[in-house]
Symmetry: C2
Subunit: 253 residues, 2 copies
């Protein structure tokens, strides 16, 4: 979720967390990272989300944010452990960078590492460490946004040739979303209406909790709601969101 | 807290969190980092701890760990924000390193930075980034424990000349505790007895929840209990704990 006004992610998270062992079998861990300026905090558990007391606590005690990344894990490589739980976080240029992956990068072991070392043993974290090192090494100083987006698309595309690399990444301001096989987004803006979750019997009327200027982008591998229009991603494309707006769609193949 | 058997930190945390705006005025943020192997997760809020629903949740839903670092903040440099909330976490050699500081390093701005950049604007995080870069740059490969401890003591001592630098740091295995002005520890081991909190009307009988082999080291700036014997630190010394044992006391001045 990426917005132009601090927003709580309870509605979307309520749908997502049902898929963590309830309506879907992504039950090997879950995480939710919430930015506050350049800094992010993450709530992580190496267990199923759908019946987690911590996940319930977060739904009951909403934290507003401009940028959040959530993940539910169905393990392919790497055991069930905290170290292997997404999203992964590192610091670059004085900001937290948050990353979550869907898919398997089969030949991740061939990806070279530099400054960032994996803590766990997933393909995902290794791919992330390689990606972030590639971004860091591409620039002497923090670049202009467009140059940065192109670097993310370029390096993400090269990793994508080694496996299935759907990912979400935040840099404290932008949300990057790369589609390898499945990804979709929508932007909620005025006039706001009702939304109904796919995975739970929950409906919200956003017109009651928003102002006309609010913009909220939501990206997911599978649509979270049944009565809104989600835009499907093209495999090999990278979306960049800023202030609840799709700023760029870049080739990333 | 550093132990030889997974232990929950609820008792100590219950005392500490009272000082976060209740029995003491460290009300500008709090954090609790809990290791699970080489990986740590942190719960952080830029607000007072003593009446925080999240802090209460953690007390009601204990997480066992071998190594935990908690902090309550009374701000001196840097505004009240998530980015300025201790403990700070970075990755080095494929492990999370967790750091919390008590005191003010007045000339922190003169400390050079390298690989690690501060996200917030505290003296504490800058000192930590400098310390971790110093450790990293001291070794080509991860060193033997004794060499590592000496590097921490040496670099910590040099930072300590620039201000008040009481700190706790974890590397996934060891707990480092440097005393500049105030720090104390105790080790709970068999025969276990009763402990009574300083800051709350709570007593626990550890003999009921332990085995004879258990060892738990607890380090704090101010003793957390009234009926146990805490060992005061010497200014300019660094303690290193491993498996609930004080492994080394090194000069760090």
């Amino acid at each position: 979720m990426e917005c132009n006004v601090p927003t709580d992610i309870v509605f979307s998270f309520s749908g997502l967390r049902r898929r963590g062992g309830g309506t879907a079998d992504h039950a090997d861990g879950w995480g939710l990272a919430l930015y506050d300026g350049p800094s992010a905090r993450a709530f992580l558990e190496p267990t199923a989300c759908h019946d987690s007391p911590l996940a319930r606590f977060l739904a009951d005690n909403p934290i507003k944010t401009l940028l959040a990344i959530g993940h539910i894990r169905k393990k392919t490589r790497g055991k069930q452990s905290l170290a292997n739980t997404h999203p992964f976080i590192r610091e670059l240029w004085g900001k937290h960078w948050v990353f979550a992956h869907n898919g398997t990068v089969k030949s991740a072991k061939t990806l070279k590492l530099g400054k960032y070392q994996p803590i766990g043993d997933t393909d995902s974290e290794r791919a992330y460490c390689h990606l972030l090192e590639g971004i860091r090494a591409s620039f002497r100083d923090p670049p202009k946004p467009r140059e940065l987006w192109e670097a993310v698309a370029d390096i993400g595309g090269r990793i994508g040739r080694k496996g299935t690399f759907n990912f979400l990444m935040g840099d404290g301001r932008h949300l990057y979303a790369r589609c390898a096989t499945k990804l979709c987004y929508l932007i909620r803006k005025a006039p706001f209406g009702e939304a109904r979750l796919q995975d739970d019997d929950v409906t919200i009327d956003f017109s009651a909790v928003t102002t006309p200027k609010d913009r909220v982008a939501v990206v997911s591998t599978v649509p979270l709601t049944t009565n809104e229009e989600w835009t499907q991603g093209e495999p090999g494309n990278l979306w960049v969101f800023d202030q609840g707006t799709l700023k760029a769609t870049l080739p990333s193949a």
